[in-house]
Subunit: 300 residues, 2 copies
């Protein structure tokens, strides 16, 4: 563990999971945390996954790694507020789901002799808040680092070691490529899920209680995505607008092709399409990013 | 258990699960099964969830309940082939995911003094074939009966008892309303998942291995749906064309609204939308159709 004192700014699902994953390793690393919300601070104190500070300056005092764990839209402000309290040589990192915009929001406020290593752990659940965290969240999950031209290689290496010690696999990527990859694997699927749940909610020919009762047939899996933190997702779409719109445009074109095949009752087209998508599932299971176990929504 | 001998025509996920659920209850009911595919018959014999017959006539000989467990597009043909071998008073039921079209395909071949009770158990996984079945598939899941004008109330009651004995909750619905409800809760979500997976597969700026590696951020849940049986889904969309196209039309309109909000960076609109969809998730958990446990794709 290359850090002696880690300060977590923001105390939600990601921050609490970082602290719990560190504690699981019996790490001697000091962990302090701060949230602007008093209620969140009291909650975090009760769960006791880190030493909760009452001010941002207290929290980062002496820290050699400061991680910004707030929604993407709040990163710039937070960086501006914490900047005066950072010592020389401190590494600042973040967990934002969008990288190009977040880097351009944070970078102007990084003091001289403070180092910024942008990062994005691809982990999370549909739950949010300090009580949603758990120690195994990052196990076998990817954390993508997107160092800038100014990031020294040594600092990137240290942050890499940090995430590996939490159980994650680490890779590096160009920030703008990261934003495109995530728009395909995360942002578009979430927006589509939000949309489908919204349509079902408004479709007057079918009652809401019918939708809910009969949701196990597919709709349920969309509601899981569509239950993710609303503020986090608002910020993601606004901050990764161009990549999100590009994928959604492609999605619409493709949906029209399939709709047209249904209208024409073109069974061959549909069958070939569905056979292709099925094989992608197998590759994901082989890559260890899901289990082959059937999901029938009940683990009791 | 109101039936002494149940014949299963088709030996996939649903048929094998029916047999296993019956056996779990130590039911004395005789279970015979037939599949047109020799390979499937041998597989079923190996798993040994029912007595496998070598012909359709052998399978239904003496059966008081015959269940058609084949894809929606094969129902009419199967009914025509089995009709000559049915005795007076036999009840025929099915498990088709579409009801209006399936009823109109099956009904013309129902012999006089044979009774048809259309049914649709809302249960399944992304896996298919006789080895995908398991005894608890129907526990706490809905089975929707859509009796026609010619279905005697007594027969509907018997089929209701049958599904209840398998662990399902049973309700009745008009066939055309069923098709609309399912187009919202199942058919549209599946088509959208197929589309999203197809887009990701074809998007050349992001490699397939990137999509697969970083799928845990949302995309993975779509691949689960998009891995469902291709023949089954081809038949569903062709046989429930009008309802599917109606919902997909609504979906596209709604998606355009959200895309436009992203383009305009209208954070308030997005936030309100996402808060609404989140609350629907809570209602599904309260209705017992999913657990609140976070899904992070690893159960090991």
């Amino acid at each position: 563990m290359p850090f002696k004192h880690i300060a977590l700014l923001g105390l939600g699902l990601i921050a609490s999971s970082i602290a719990m994953a560190l504690r699981r390793n019996n790490s001697e690393t000091k962990i302090t945390g701060f949230s602007r919300s008093k209620r969140t601070r009291r909650k975090a104190e009760k769960i006791d996954f880190c030493k909760v500070s009452e001010s941002i300056s207290d929290c980062v005092l002496g820290a050699d790694l400061v991680i910004l764990c707030v929604p993407v839209g709040a990163m710039g402000d937070l960086m501006q507020r914490v900047a005066p309290y950072l010592s020389k040589g401190t590494i600042v990192s973040d967990v934002g789901s969008v990288k190009v915009n977040v880097i351009s929001e944070i970078n102007p406020f990084i003091p001289k002799e403070v180092i910024f290593v942008p990062a994005h752990p691809l982990a999370g659940t549909e739950n949010s808040g300090p009580d949603a965290g758990f120690a195994t969240l990052f196990d076998n999950r990817w954390c993508i680092l997107t160092p800038t031209d100014q990031t020294p290689i040594d600092a990137t290496k240290k942050v890499k070691k940090f995430w590996q010690s939490l159980g994650a696999e680490v890779c590096e990527m160009d920030a703008s490529h990261h934003d495109l990859v995530l728009s395909v694997t995360s942002h578009a699927p979430h927006l589509i899920a939000f949309t489908m749940v919204g349509v079902a909610d408004e479709f007057s020919k079918v009652t809401n209680s019918e939708v809910i009762n009969y949701s196990a047939a597919g709709f349920r899996d969309f509601t899981r995505l569509a239950a993710s933190d609303p503020i986090m997702w608002r910020d993601i779409f606004i901050n990764n607008k161009d990549a999100a719109l590009e994928i959604l445009g492609r999605f619409t074109e493709e949906l029209f092709k399939l709709q047209s095949a249904i209208r024409r009752k073109d069974g061959d087209f549909l069958l070939k399409y569905f056979e292709r998508t099925r094989s992608i599932r197998r590759n994901i299971i082989e890559a260890g990013q899901d289990t082959a176990e059937p999901n029938f929504g009940r683990k009791k």
